[in-house]
Symmetry: C2
Subunit: 197 residues, 2 copies
């Protein structure tokens, strides 16, 4: 995959729209060309195939999430507060790109080999979150869990699935509305019992 010029990258989300609406299979490469305004031959000049377009979209979105998460993690607040910010950040990215997220989740199998995907998510999400969990134990704002990696996955899954059910139903996803509901469930379980609300 060649380095994709910005003016082409900017047009690709229109393809995600199609993928999300009609499904990946039912979207012809010619349709993608028509919807994005990027001619088919040019698409094949940059991408090895239709799947690579989806994979590119996924990488972009994961990168965006990694950036937002990194910002949330570096704030000068308690670890608990930053963890809440991470949840909101993930929701914000998903709310920002509803079609891309739907298309990606519904077609994970097309977006690349799963192991590579998994390590991308690890880099963008699990590693920073696990670090945050650690810091939370040290600053006393979070309870220690016996298996931080599972805890990170629980968080990621909780947020992803909740958001997905909005996206799938076509309902608008409001990070401000949804995050408190997720956080009360998850955060209260992480708060030390010696400092209840």
């Amino acid at each position: 995959m060649r380095r994709v010029p910005a003016q082409i990258a900017a047009r690709l989300p229109a393809a995600a729209e199609l993928f999300a609406d009609r499904g990946f299979e039912n979207t012809k490469v010619d349709d993608v060309a028509a919807a994005t305004g990027v001619p088919k031959a040019t698409l094949y000049y940059y991408f090895a195939g239709k799947e690579e377009i989806l994979a590119f979209l996924l990488q972009e979105t994961l990168q965006q999430m990694a950036d937002e998460v990194a910002i949330a993690v570096q704030a000068p607040d308690s670890a608990a507060a930053r963890l809440a910010a991470v949840v909101r950040a993930q929701l914000r990215v998903m709310a920002d790109q509803p079609s891309v997220c739907r298309a990606l989740i519904e077609n994970l199998g097309h977006a690349g080999r799963i192991p590579e995907l998994a390590s991308s998510v690890t880099e963008a999400y699990y590693t920073p979150v696990q670090q945050l969990l650690d810091e939370g134990v040290r600053d006393g704002s979070l309870r220690a869990t016996e298996d931080p990696s599972t805890t990170a996955m629980v968080l990621f899954g909780a947020v992803t699935m909740s958001a997905l059910s909005y996206l799938a139903a076509g309902r608008p996803l409001s990070p401000e509305g949804l995050s408190p509901a997720i956080l009360t469930v998850v955060l209260d379980g992480l708060r030390p019992t010696d400092s209840p609300p």
Copy 2:
């Protein structure tokens, strides 16, 4: 889709194996025929197409989950204990059919229209779990949440994503090993603060 005879249904999980290994797209119907021993023409006699085979597998698995969840819900324990049993039940189903689950999750978009899928999951999981959350508030074993439907999704997502990361990595998924880690995160948040462990 005709009523699928048991001896054919029993052979289909072999197809899920292929879907999970090489991906749905890279699996030819002829491959499915070879792997299951069910001739291509017979497959087309019962299923309208390749996607319908996946959809059938999904329905079977959801039904199995609905059954297991129903059993867990009806136990004579506290709501909290039954909720823990629901989590273990879901993990057990996923551990039972790793390939099917991987294939399904990686190819949600192929397994049927998402709204129908969503309502199947609602029937099999969200409705019983929400009922359980209600009962928990009444019997005092669970804390009330402002949005029980979101809570149910959080649970489902937490379990699904944790399990998936094992399946995707090819690691064996042990319900007994994983459920405590999930439950400490999620259940402690649901426990009333007036009865800590």
